[in-house]
Symmetry: C3
């Protein structure tokens, strides 16, 4: 196929005979400015990032499905907080510390572009990069929320989430910033196994350890507590699964030139790794329990995804499968180990993100061949590929640096919050009635919330919780129905009884006149008429009716 | 980097030295026909629209999570109806009234392309535009469904949804059609703050006012009723959040030339605006209640998204943050105000879409700089940018025209439906038992549905509702278990008892022979054998077993 | 608009005067190798596939929402299994049997590329194709899981899912492989109505027939059993709806040249077909029941989507609407028919996928015009377009071949599993307590699970199920609260009571020292103090508190 111009008779063989003249690039006068056709690359990056943003919902659903129901909504809100506060701080100083390129930038910390606001010339590249990196940052901060679920004070979490950005941004600069010392050493972490997952997992470990296990968690053994909504947990996993495709494939950072080939390979290796991990995870779960524990299924698949993330664009299919299988095994084996140590991590974040992230980095140092086309590995190869220990060493060093940094800074931040601002742990009252009730005024039924309130009292910290109506119900309707029954006005129609027991009619007269009321042409609101009589019919409980709910 | 041809020795520096020769475009012989590489733009628009379609699920979940459980599914169905009926009418006449370009087109109404069916030459551009605009139209019509939830008659809603398209399409033509008088005045509404949200919000206000508040809504004060599923509401918000990225970024209507730069900026401003809004919304909620109300969190974020939609591609980061913060404040402050006026809007659609939409339009008239590259503002600037009152005036005029049109036409349509076809309000019976039960035969447990049925009777409008089994349960199994218990055949195996109490075996003999039955080779269906004995074991209620559910 | 180079003064009129020189392509020296700009096409295919992967969640939610609650999570897990086991087998041999091109390939079966692992030169095209086809394969295998829900043995399903790939891959090769005999005859099945849906639907029919109806299913008539979560079912439908846009539009397999025009048309025809189907489905449901059954709404929309899938890129809008309307009618009319035959298909997979798939294929043979631009129909036209019976005959032959193959191979595989490995049917014990409890240790409340366990005993197949705690609850907290109430230590603070009834304090001392413990600087964990007293307050049941849950 060829492109032929009718005007100039110039024929271009649709670029198939063009070679990439890379030499020109180095001595080009404007090497930092991407060429105008970055548009296609930007479209790829933006589309991938749209898909990455679905992961926030995935994390929310997975975490909220995995904890007990009385904390379900609270952890969804924490994920909202991660976007809102993580987003504002990433814009204010996170991006600056990761990718800032002012004169103050050192190999250990970027500086510049605080409160990013690029001009019209640069905005395309800068905004694309910022948007993509922001989606990484909010993902990293959300990992911690699962590990400390069900007992971390909400206000303390909000404070932590605000500062947390700094924990992520410094090592992101080491790995991916032009200034980064790890990058200069040649570390390979394509889509963030170290930058996102080791970082988040280490942070999660320290936070879970510091806040302590849930009340009575290990009084009855170390087996996992029942999930609040396993269906939501699996749905969340599916969302993470599809979002991860955007996460890894988008990390080629474009589709121009040979980049699209790497994107295609990434899609397949990402899937195959998770498939290998799911296989081993289900096998282990079946072997141990003679049934498939949802936690094992979910966490093995996620473990496989984390494990392939660092080298996703470089593996062959067999390597991806092997890397994922080991990752899945790590995820499901490590969770009970942490429980043995009485480190209570309700969603297994430390195992899935922390340990599998480390494995992901080391696997590159072991298996990866030198990538000739994009030179992603800087001509280095893994240990088993004859590359010696250099790459493996750099990968291990990166894990060490990032995890020590994350653990240390998390410890400092939480200590400061706990000592000087607010206890990082909920009070026992809050923990026993659940964060949904205490922090958001949500009272679920049939899961022990009312029982807890009944034992512990309706007052807490001086606030009165007695006006919180049960969820899902319409208290106004309950009142109407109660009064209708009390009147026992058999023979009266429903409409008449409703008019009598509600003061809707009176209300309508008192309705304040508002500016567009003239539009109504003095129309009287028509009440639909019903000729149905009231029948108080206590049916037999067998059919479910008549049980006075 | 440069592209070098091996054949012709021609080197192209990958377009970086090409400038856009815009003069050629104006005196081109076919200016309306997009160049062949519209394919890339179309791919961007189509992909964005795929993501926009996820917003329908988002609206459905948000609305169904926000109302009481007994109306949860009904409002999901209303969202399906919006796609189905809104889609068919948009195809039949909606697109024609918005973008039709026949000789009958006036500045106030398009005409032409009814029941769109383009030929093969034009189909690419036309279908792309239609698909994109259709996703806008179904979004606009769905806004109303939340505001009238829990008491609007389902059949009346179906009728309204059918005609509703006309309410949206006329002002869409004013704003975006080549004929539109507002467009000719130079209005700026990039992704529909006025066309979608002011329009939908105004419609919602009138509809909510006309249908009246829910039964007994304000008898016990004006605080919001408990949500049926706050987790679903937040999940819906997340879906809207990610869908909004497609909505706004897709509104650049391509990525070619400099368009991708605007898409990248749009992504960042959209996020930052929602972040600012979320911050202020959470702050206000905490200040007022000492807890985070889910409604405040959700609606402030959405208010921020609506507020940035009109000018998403034009703002700087600081402006986006400011616009969003004001928008979030409007959203959370206006909701209780409407409740004070006893206008019952269960999801806050009027505040979030109507008021924030107006703010979005005015903000452009205040803050926006003249956009030199794409000339989106037609060289006009906002009041604070030295552009005087012209742009602000046009923006305000647009809001006025669109909201008056929407309110007036909604009023007319609902009046006609109510007077001549069917009451727009559910009967009290339906409202008290809930639309899920009355309209879809869904009987939930433990939320008062059975109680309502017990008081009000099983008959309604001559229909008998006694055969509706409780949700989630398997009534066949319940019957089997009841009979097994009654027999008390201790010592009998489960299999034998099952065979006795069900007529499965008899059924199997009577099974009609169907065409592929020969494939079964006369195989007898094997019943799996179980040696388990029946044990009726009423366990202690402490452990949850033995409670005869 | 024109591109002008500042360096060479070469002006390119942005390709608008270039024509596609297709002659060059045929005598090109490397015709199989796509040109380097396949990158854009690949980006389109990959993005579509990301969206297709959301369909797995859609199927999961739809199926889990449609069955009774006690099997909800089990069917989600089955969808995970479909990806994991379907994925590994598709990689191992599925792709090889569909698209392998070694010398062993016959018109009936591909051969080659087992355990796909392409080199760096070919990886772009191969991985893109594999990734796209894999998403089709997992979709086909998941159709069966719905039809056999609530009574198919989980282990048998895992075995079946592993082998199932072969059922799909052979006919996929017939239809889409270069070797396929149906392809050579000129069959048109653009996005898989025959390859995916007829195949999956036929398989589902045989599997549902072989496993038999649910216990007591037809003892109380043939009306559908209540759905476990209609809201989830509709959410699943929405996900399938949006995923289907990726499915069909991605099947243009690119956007270059005129392909994007077909993608745009596909988007519109896909939507219009589902809209027509939804209209007729809702109409029929209303006419039959005077209410909208969720099953009818969902299945008619899906029926419309299946019906348009085969010819999505070829129809005009009117044709799409007509095809969808007939499809929707088939879907809702056929479901009760299968119930009359006592073939128990809880989600209607046979009707929606099988019958609508056949209609989709025949509709092409009736309505389609010869497609001149891409020559998708090989210059053949449908019966009503003057093309005679040839195309119709080929389409019918394809349906016959694929459905006979699928039914026969499903029958063989299930027979072998049932006779030699494990009964394909759950035991009655498992069916009555539900697969969630039996296979995953999930005990839901208020839906009859405890009742079943109470009648049938806590032991099954030698396994003891007594340690399974009820879902959503926190058993540790329940224990704490019970003991606190028993102590009735009025006047004591909550904190003191908690410290007394839990052994948290003791535990903390025994916590093993781990490697990063030094970071804690010997810090003592601070217990947040609360001055709240314990009040055992049995409130009146009217307000919901005080009911000892």
């Amino acid at each position: 196929m060829a492109l032929k111009s009718n005007n100039t008779d110039l024929t271009i063989d649709q670029f198939e005979n063009f070679t990439l003249n890379l030499d020109n690039q180095t001595n080009n006068e404007a090497p930092t400015q991407p060429p105008p056709d970055f548009g296609n690359d930007a479209a790829w990056i933006l589309t991938s990032t749209f898909i990455i943003f679905t992961m926030q919902s995935g994390f929310g659903l997975l975490e909220s499905g995995a904890v007990s129901m009385k904390n379900e909504t609270n952890i969804m809100v924490k994920n909202v907080v991660d976007v809102v506060l993580g987003g504002i701080t990433y814009w204010l100083f996170g991006y600056a510390l990761s990718f800032g390129e002012s004169e103050w930038t050192t190999p250990f910390c970027g500086w510049g572009s605080f409160a990013l606001n690029p001009g019209e010339e640069a905005m395309g590249e800068v905004y694309t990069k910022f948007f993509f990196q922001l989606s990484f940052a909010t993902t990293a901060t959300t990992i911690v929320s699962g590990a400390v679920a069900e007992r971390f004070n909400f206000v303390a979490y909000v404070l932590f989430s605000t500062i947390n950005t700094v924990i992520y941004c410094i090592p992101a600069g080491w790995l991916w910033g032009n200034h980064g010392f790890l990058r200069k050493l040649g570390v390979v972490d394509i889509a963030g196994s170290c930058g996102v997952h080791v970082c988040g997992g280490s942070s999660a470990l320290v936070a879970a350890r510091m806040v302590g296990p849930r009340l009575g968690r290990y009084d009855q053994g170390e087996s996992p507590l029942p999930m609040g909504s396993p269906t939501n947990a699996i749905l969340g996993m599916f969302m993470l699964w599809w979002g991860w495709l955007g996460f890894n494939c988008g990390s080629t950072y474009g589709i121009s030139g040979p980049l699209w080939k790497y994107a295609a390979r990434t899609a397949v290796t990402t899937l195959l790794s998770s498939i290998g991990a799911g296989l081993i995870g289900m096998g282990v779960s079946w072997y141990k329990n003679h049934r498939l524990e949802i936690g094992d299924v979910v966490n093995s698949v996620l473990g496989g995804l984390v494990s392939v993330t660092a080298g996703c664009a470089l593996y062959t299919t067999w390597e991806a499968l092997a890397v994922g299988t080991v990752g899945g095994l790590i995820a499901v084996m490590a969770m009970p180990m942490f429980d043995k140590l009485h480190i209570d991590d309700p969603v297994g974040a430390t195992s899935v993100h922390g340990l599998c992230g480390i494995w992901a980095m080391l696997a590159i140092g072991l298996f990866v061949k030198a990538d000739m086309l994009l030179r992603m590995t800087r001509d280095k190869a893994g240990l088993f590929r004859g590359g010696g220990f250099y790459l493996l060493g750099v990968q291990a060093l990166s894990c060490l640096c990032v995890s020590v940094w994350s653990m240390f800074s998390t410890f400092i931040i939480l200590t400061v919050i706990d000592k000087f601002f607010i206890s990082i742990r909920m009070s026992e009252w809050e923990e026993l009635v659940g964060a949904d009730f205490a922090e958001h005024g949500i009272r679920r039924r049939n899961i022990g919330v009312s029982r807890a309130v009944s034992v512990l009292g309706l007052q807490h910290h001086g606030y009165d919780y007695s006006d919180i109506a049960p969820m899902g119900d319409n208290p106004c309707h309950q009142k109407v129905l109660s009064e209708m029954k009390a009147l026992s006005r058999r023979g009266s129609t429903v409409s008449k009884a409703v008019a009598q027991v509600t003061d809707n009619k009176a209300k309508k007269i008192k309705l304040p006149s508002i500016n567009f009321d003239c539009l109504f042409f003095g129309r009287k609101k028509k009440r639909p008429k019903s000729t149905n009589k009231i029948h108080v019919v206590p049916l037999q409980s067998q059919e479910g009716f008549g049980i006075w709910e």
